[in-house]
Symmetry: C2
Subunit: 94 residues, 2 copies
């Protein structure tokens, strides 16, 4: 199962993409009105793929809500490095 | 120079990232109030990096404006394939 940080947050890592799609769909099926997909670095492209796949193929009447980008400092092998981040909110209509 | 589609649109491809950063900075220095960074597929992560680098290091008083994600169908070697897209608007304050 994909890592979950809170009831409605899915953090995208290196597992196969459908694992995260399933995690998001499961949240909505459990009654969540909003699910936030978070990623950083190269996983950002995958986060967008996941949001689009959920919207197009699995959950009806979803809107893309806020999309927030930013920068985080993480500890690399040779000291701190900056990585970009994204948070995509998917929201049920009505 | 990075590919430009309109006066204030920068399309992210496979060139080195600073090439696109420079393209965006050049637009703002030429007086543009908004610059749109567009990317698809794996270049989406790079588009976020470019927006963050421009904001943090090169242009003062920039806001991240609208961020729009979507899906496009492109012609692959074995027929049409769907790719995710992003458009990030950077906007000068005031």
């Amino acid at each position: 199962m994909a890592e979950k940080l809170g009831d409605n947050i899915v953090l995208v890592g290196r597992k196969e993409i459908m694992s995260y799609v399933l995690a998001v769909v499961t949240q909505f099926n459990a009654g969540e009105k909003d699910v936030i997909i978070k990623a950083r670095g190269k996983a950002i492209s995958r986060a967008v793929d996941i949001a689009e796949i959920v919207k197009r193929r699995f959950v009806q009447n979803l809107n893309t809500g806020d999309i927030v980008i930013g920068t985080e400092e993480i500890q690399g092998d040779e000291g701190p490095v900056k990585v970009s981040t994204i948070e995509i909110t998917l929201a049920k209509q009505g």
